[in-house]
Structures are given as structure tokens and as C-alpha cells.
């Protein structure tokens, strides 16, 4: 057994995939062109889809609300461009289902100015008013999970929050959006922190940054207003340092119980880009109609960080950035956790943190000669799993379809599919895919028919 020394401000286990962040981390955020057609799904978040409040043929102004939240577990949707609603119909989504969406055709000659709404002032608004404002602004977790932020900010009854963690770790290879946001939008971030502090009542704020983003640390330290109870902590570079559970464990030494929430250990973790959006939108009463994504990977000629309208199709994004002819694999997000795309006509949503493109050359190198061998019980996956699960045994159970045993005895549902086990497996067993399938089956079995 290898001696596992836990470095300061980090967690045990984990892996070190090549980062590939230098390719885009120095490139400033640029504005992306408006596509001739934007597809805005009404369900870009976890929870209930929004209700469309526009009709076909209606003209909308950029930033106008086109979907109202349906209940508390839902957020509003805003028009990403001034234009005309062509139709409201099904559109493909990354999850492989067809979801109701608004097809918007932007006016080519419009100045695309955004209308301001009713502002929400941090000094005077009550926490409940801010929560409603966040819901109306359509803010969801921009790190990738797209969980409605206002739901997260309202902890279960009886839970007190003492620490607010702003997560700027961004451990996923290729992605540099949070990095650029920290460098370019520090004022927005600190404004967002004020809103979040007011809502959560936390006494302390920690901004977590990975050691490969020292320039962002310097920038934020310099720009930090003296009245905020804020500290900036730098975590060592390790994947998956950016996961909510692991950030809290690394910085506070508190472990979230199995199946629990950060509120169970009196902490809350918000992505840094989400914080910046709250700080940017709420003072003006606007909603999310665009987001920052990294378009990178070996298959892209003009790599970069772009502020892209929500609803731009992957096809248009790849065309504009000069995708190679031999594009083979496209991921929404990074290569470790990002879902693969089977259809280039899917739109970029609020949960999309990047597009990573690989060509045939890398694909052949990565998978071309790799057959799947049986598990040899080398336990490399056990040493990689940041949650101390046993991926090796879980993989064997999944193969024999013992899904309930996986969930009840081996904590399958705690797995957040970081991919560290699959990454280190010398037998190339698709462990994460097994677990995703198993989790889906367990959820199906647990719901009484």
C-alpha cells in the first residue's frame, strides 16, 4: 500500500490528468456572434421546466423573460437576443431526450441592447427578496450541474450556515472559464458575495482557487474590498478538487455525510461564475441570457473563452471557431466529466461550461487500440476514488447487475461520476458508465411503479 500523505488544503486520493489549460487561460473573454437561429430549452436546470410566456410569431427584446418559473424548483428563462419567436417545439438536448424549446430568430440589424429590469439593491432587500430575484434572474449553478441557485441558498429548516465557499477551483482539464471570470470580473464577484452573504447569513467567505491560477489569486487579493470577511485559499492542483464535497472537506476539514448536503456541515458552496453573474445581473434586474464558455481541444483552430448567447447550437459554435474536418468527439464541458454529444444541433445551455473537441487522431490514440480486459484487482481505482468507494468491486457487481446491493452496501449513490477510476484503470473498464447505468437503475427501482 502506497503511503498517502494528504497535502495541506486538499483531499486524499484523486488523479493528475494533463491540464491543457495554458492553451486558453491567457485569452481574454470575447463576445460570440449571434447565430441565425437560437434554441432556448425551457428546461436548462434540474427541476421543473419553465412555462413559456411568449407565443409563436411574437417579437422579443434581448433579456426579456420568455419563461416563468413553475414552482420553487424552477427558474426563469430570458431571451438571448432581440428577435422573433419562430416556433415553440421539441429540440434535442444533451441528456438524449427531446425537450420543449423556444426557437428564436435574432434580428440581424438589431443593436442587441439589453433592457434593465427592476433592480434588487443589496443594501435594502430582504433575504427572501434576493432569493426571488435570483430565481427571476434565472441563475443556476454555472459549474455544470445547473442546480437552481436560489434553492441551494435556502437551507433545510434548522440548519445554520456559517461558511460560504466561492468555488473557483475549476479542476476539469481544458476549461478556463472560471479562471478568466476571476481575472476580468472581480468587481462582479465581490458584489455577488455581498448578495450571498445577505441571503445565507454566513460569517465567513472563502474563495477557493487551485494553485495553477496564481494570477487570479493575486488579482482578487488586490481587488478585495476591506469590509468583506473574506479570505482566499489556494488548493494544490489535483482532480477532482473542484467537487463541492471535496472543496468543503479540503478547506474546512468537514466531511459531508453520505447522502447529505453541504448544509449538514453548516457550509454552502457556490461556483465563482455563478457568484459573478449574481453580482452582475441583480443590481440591474437582468436575467442570464449569455454565459462564458471555453471552446478548446485539439480539434479547434480559434480556441478561446467566449461570452456566448444561450441557445447557440454546438454546430454554429464549432463553425465560428474553425473546427477541424476530422472532428471525432465533442464534449460539453471537459473530457473528464463532460457528456459526449451525439447531435451537433443541441443548444448551449446555462449548464454548459465549455466545448472540448477531439479529432480522429486523439480518439484513435485514446481508445483505438484499447480492448477491455477483465479486472485484475490492482486497486488503482480504489486509490484514485476521492470518496473512498471501491470502484473495482462496484464494477464487478454492475457487470452482474446487482444494482441494489451496489446502492445499499457499497454507497453507489455517493459517486458523483468524476471519472478518476476509469482514468486510471489499466484494463480500460468503463467504470463510470457502469455506475451511471447502475444509478439510473437504482432510481428506477426505488420509485414505486
Amino acid at each position: 500500500m502506497m503511503l498517502n500523505i494528504v497535502p495541506k488544503d486538499s483531499f486524499q486520493n484523486g488523479v493528475h490528468p494533463p491540464e491543457h489549460k495554458d492553451e486558453t487561460s491567457h485569452l481574454a473573454i470575447r463576445r460570440f456572434a449571434f447565430a441565425p437561429q437560437l434554441i432556448v430549452p425551457l428546461s436548462q436546470h434540474l427541476g421543473k421546466p419553465a412555462i413559456a410566456v411568449v407565443r409563436e410569431g411574437q417579437e422579443v427584446v434581448r433579456g426579456q423573460t420568455i419563461g416563468e418559473p413553475d414552482g420553487f424548483m424552477s427558474v426563469a428563462m430570458h431571451a438571448p437576443a432581440s428577435g422573433v419567436v419562430k416556433r415553440i417545439a421539441l429540440a434535442p438536448s444533451i441528456s438524449g431526450t427531446m425537450v420543449p424549446s423556444v426557437y428564436l430568430q435574432p434580428f440581424p440589424a438589431s443593436s442587441q441592447e439589453v433592457d434593465d429590469g427592476e433592480p434588487c439593491d443589496v443594501a435594502t432587500a430582504t433575504p427572501d427578496e434576493i432569493i426571488t430575484a435570483i430565481q427571476q434572474a434565472g441563475v443556476v449553478g454555472l459549474g455544470g450541474a445547473a442546480f437552481p441557485t436560489h434553492v441551494k441558498l435556502k437551507p433545510p429548516d434548522g440548519k445554520q450556515l456559517d461558511t460560504l465557499i466561492i468555488n473557483g477551483v475549476e479542476c476539469e482539464p481544458y476549461l478556463t472559464t472560471d479562471h478568466r471570470v476571476m481575472l476580468e470580473q472581480s468587481a462582479d464577484i465581490f458584489m455577488g458575495v455581498r448578495y450571498l452573504l445577505r441571503v445565507t447569513g454566513a460569517a465567513e467567505v472563502i474563495i477557493a482557487i487551485e494553485a495553477n491560477k496564481r494570477d487570479a489569486e493575486r488579482k482578487l487579493t488586490k481587488a478585495c474590498p476591506p469590509d468583506l470577511p473574506l479570505s482566499i485559499r489556494v488548493c494544490p492542483v489535483k482532480y477532482p478538487q473542484g467537487a463541492e464535497k471535496l472543496v468543503i472537506k479540503s478547506l474546512l476539514g468537514r466531511e459531508i455525510p453520505s447522502g447529505g448536503l453541504p448544509a449538514d456541515v453548516n457550509a454552502i458552496c457556490v461556483n465563482v461564475a455563478t457568484t459573478a453573474e449574481i453580482g452582475r445581473l441583480l443590481p440591474k434586474g437582468r436575467g442570464i441570457q449569455e454565459r462564458v464558455i471555453t471552446i478548446g481541444g485539439p480539434g479547434i483552430q480559434r480556441k478561446g473563452n467566449y461570452r456566448i448567447p444561450i441557445g447557440t447550437t454546438v454546430r454554429f459554435a464549432l463553425k465560428e471557431t474553425g473546427a477541424a474536418d476530422n472532428v471525432s468527439r465533442v464534449f460539453l464541458g471537459g473530457p473528464m466529466m463532460g457528456p459526449a454529444v451525439s447531435n451537433l444541433d443541441i443548444p448551449i445551455t446555462k449548464g454548459t461550461s465549455g466545448i472540448t473537441v477531439f479529432t480522429t487522431a486523439e480518439t484513435i490514440e485514446a481508445t483505438g487500440h484499447k480492448t477491455v480486459y477483465p479486472c485484475i484487482h490492482c486497486a488503482r481505482c480504489v486509490e484514485a476514488c476521492p470518496l473512498f468507494l471501491n470502484p473495482s468491486y462496484l464494477g464487478l457487481l454492475a457487470k452482474s447487475e446487482e444494482y441494489m446491493q451496489m446502492a445499499e452496501e457499497f454507497h453507489l449513490m455517493d459517486c458523483f461520476e468524476c471519472g478518476a477510476c476509469s482514468y486510471v484503470c489499466p484494463s480500460h473498464i468503463p467504470l463510470v458508465q457502469y455506475f451511471r447505468l447502475a444509478k439510473k437503475m437504482v432510481r428506477k427501482l426505488n420509485v414505486p411503479a
Partner: protein, 286 residues
């Protein structure tokens, strides 16, 4: 020593008499026919009859709430044998089989991505819905063939499952297994069948699959009043009405609505194009 033997002997006598008493007082008379009937059933517990396993059906047959015809797994002679044994009618229960609502084999349906990974439909469906252009279509990785205990499903050369109706017991395992919910259980007399679940219409549907329903609605017009209605761009057959109308499929321009012939299997209408392509269509990332 003697006291020990005496004490144990007394105790054992006491417990023995307790057991005898319990056996006499709490005795349950079980009908011996239940076990006999159970032995005659297939004992595979497939559940197609709707009762909890074969023992459940045996009990129901004894108390008269079910007839031997409920069991669709055993053959006609065996059903008659049970009926004779119990002195009841066989009961004409119509055979129920699994039907697949997709006809998009690899020769007609387009793939927009090549799927690599676990060779299982349920796993593939979680990766952006699999590589098939049609989001509703069969992924062709044979999860249904694998779960079928009675070998009633075989994959044809175009990677599409074919139900062997004689072997199918309508247990519903394939219905549960299919991630795209393409299987459903139907009486064999339901010969009019819509073999497509694509909710798009017109060229959008045909671009994905040559045999998709393009929602033209001709079948709904041709069928007698109300047998076929167009709901969500798909024809829906109302099996509670008289649905024995083969001519409804004749004008279908794609062959999405079919007629299940007892001998020859699914038949497309006259207007449907005859697909002669045998090899799989290329993967085209449009």
C-alpha cells in the same frame, strides 16, 4: 446426574406435548389440488397471467377466480389437461404478445454518431441518447434479447429485435428493459400496428429514418370513424373499436403503419417503398 436426566426428560416431554397440541389445534387444511395444479403449470413464475407467480394462478384456479386458459406459456393440450383435472372450462384467453414500436433497422435509420462503450441499450441511452438520429428509435444493442427468458426475441440482420409470437409469454421483461419504451403487450388480434414512435413530422422525421411516420394522417382518414386518431404527430389505434381494417395501411407513404399477418409477420401497405438496401446506412454527422 439423575436430576439432570429427569429434568431434561420432563422438559422434552412438555415441549413434545406442546408441539402435538399445536399441530392438532392450528392445523390448516390445504387443498391438495393446489399443489397438483401448481405442478402442471410451467413453474417459471413469468407473471404473464397477472397473478404472483404460478402458485398464485394455481390458487386462483382452485377458488374459481381464474381459468387454466390464463396461462399462455403451456400449450393447448396442457391447458385442457388441467381443465379436465379441475373439472372446469379451459377458458378462452387470448394470447398476448410483445410488439415493438420501431421499424428502423440499420438499413433504413440513420446514425448521427458512432457509439462506443458498453454494449447495452440502457447504457447507450444515457450517453446523449445513443448514436441514432431518431431519438425514439431502437438502439439495436439487444438488451431485450438478453432479458428474454424464453428466447422469443431475436435480433435480425439489421439489428432490430423480432418477436417470435409463438414463443412469447407476454411476461413484460422486454417492456421493462427497453430504455426507449418501445415494447408494449398486445393481444394477437391487434393486427393493425404503428411501428414508429417519432414525434416529428414531415421531412424532419424522414430525414432520420426512411420508415418513420411523417404524420401525413392518411391512415386516420382511410380507417373507419375514430379507429385511428392522430395524436402528437403519430397515429393512435383505438383497439376498443372494430380495428380489423387492413386497408388503412394501404396509402401509408413510408410503411410506418403495418399489418401483422399471422403467418408472414408485419406487412406494409401498397404505397410503402420497398427497401432493398441490405447494408447499414453510413454514419453521417449532419
Amino acid at each position: 446426574m439423575l436430576i439432570g436426566v429427569m429434568a431434561l426428560a420432563t422438559l422434552s416431554f412438555l415441549f413434545a406435548s406442546l408441539l402435538v397440541l399445536a399441530h392438532r389445534k392450528l392445523h390448516v387444511d390445504e387443498d391438495p389440488r393446489i399443489d397438483a395444479a401448481y405442478q402442471m403449470l410451467p413453474r417459471t413464475n413469468c407473471g404473464a397471467c397477472g397473478y404472483p407467480g404460478c402458485l398464485g394462478l394455481a390458487e386462483a384456479m382452485i377458488d374459481g377466480s381464474a381459468l387454466p386458459g390464463k396461462c399462455t406459456v403451456i400449450n393447448e393440450d396442457e391447458r385442457e389437461f388441467i381443465a379436465e383435472f379441475l373439472g372446469v372450462d379451459v377458458g378462452a384467453e387470448e394470447k398476448v404478445v410483445a410488439r415493438l414500436a420501431c421499424a428502423g433497422g440499420t438499413n433504413v435509420a440513420r446514425n448521427r454518431a458512432r457509439y462506443e462503450g458498453l454494449q447495452s441499450c440502457r447504457a447507450a441511452a444515457l450517453v446523449a441518447g445513443g448514436g441514432k438520429a431518431c431519438f425514439w428509435g431502437c438502439l439495436g444493442l439487444a438488451d431485450c434479447e438478453e432479458v428474454c427468458d424464453v428466447d422469443a426475441i431475436v435480433m435480425n440482420k439489421h439489428e432490430l429485435p423480432v418477436v417470435i409470437e409463438d414463443a412469447c409469454t407476454a411476461c413484460g421483461d422486454c417492456v421493462d428493459a427497453c430504455p426507449k419504451d418501445l415494447f408494449s403487450l398486445h393481444e394477437q388480434s391487434h393486427r393493425l400496428w404503428v411501428a414508429c414512435k417519432n414525434l416529428e413530422k414531415g421531412d424532419a422525421a424522414l430525414e432520420e429514418c426512411e420508415v418513420a411516420c411523417d404524420a401525413c394522417g392518411k391512415c386516420a382518414v382511410d380507417a373507419p370513424n375514430g379507429v385511428i386518431t392522430m395524436i402528437n404527430n403519430l397515429p393512435v389505434v383505438d383497439y376498443s373499436r372494430k380495428h380489423n381494417v387492413k386497408h388503412a395501411i394501404d396509402r401509408c407513404p413510408t410503411g410506418a403503419i403495418v399489418w401483422f399477418d399471422a403467418k408472414q409477420g408485419p406487412q406494409t401497405g401498397r404505397a410503402a417503398p420497398k427497401v432493398i438496401r441490405q447494408r447499414a446506412r453510413n454514419v453521417t454527422a449532419t
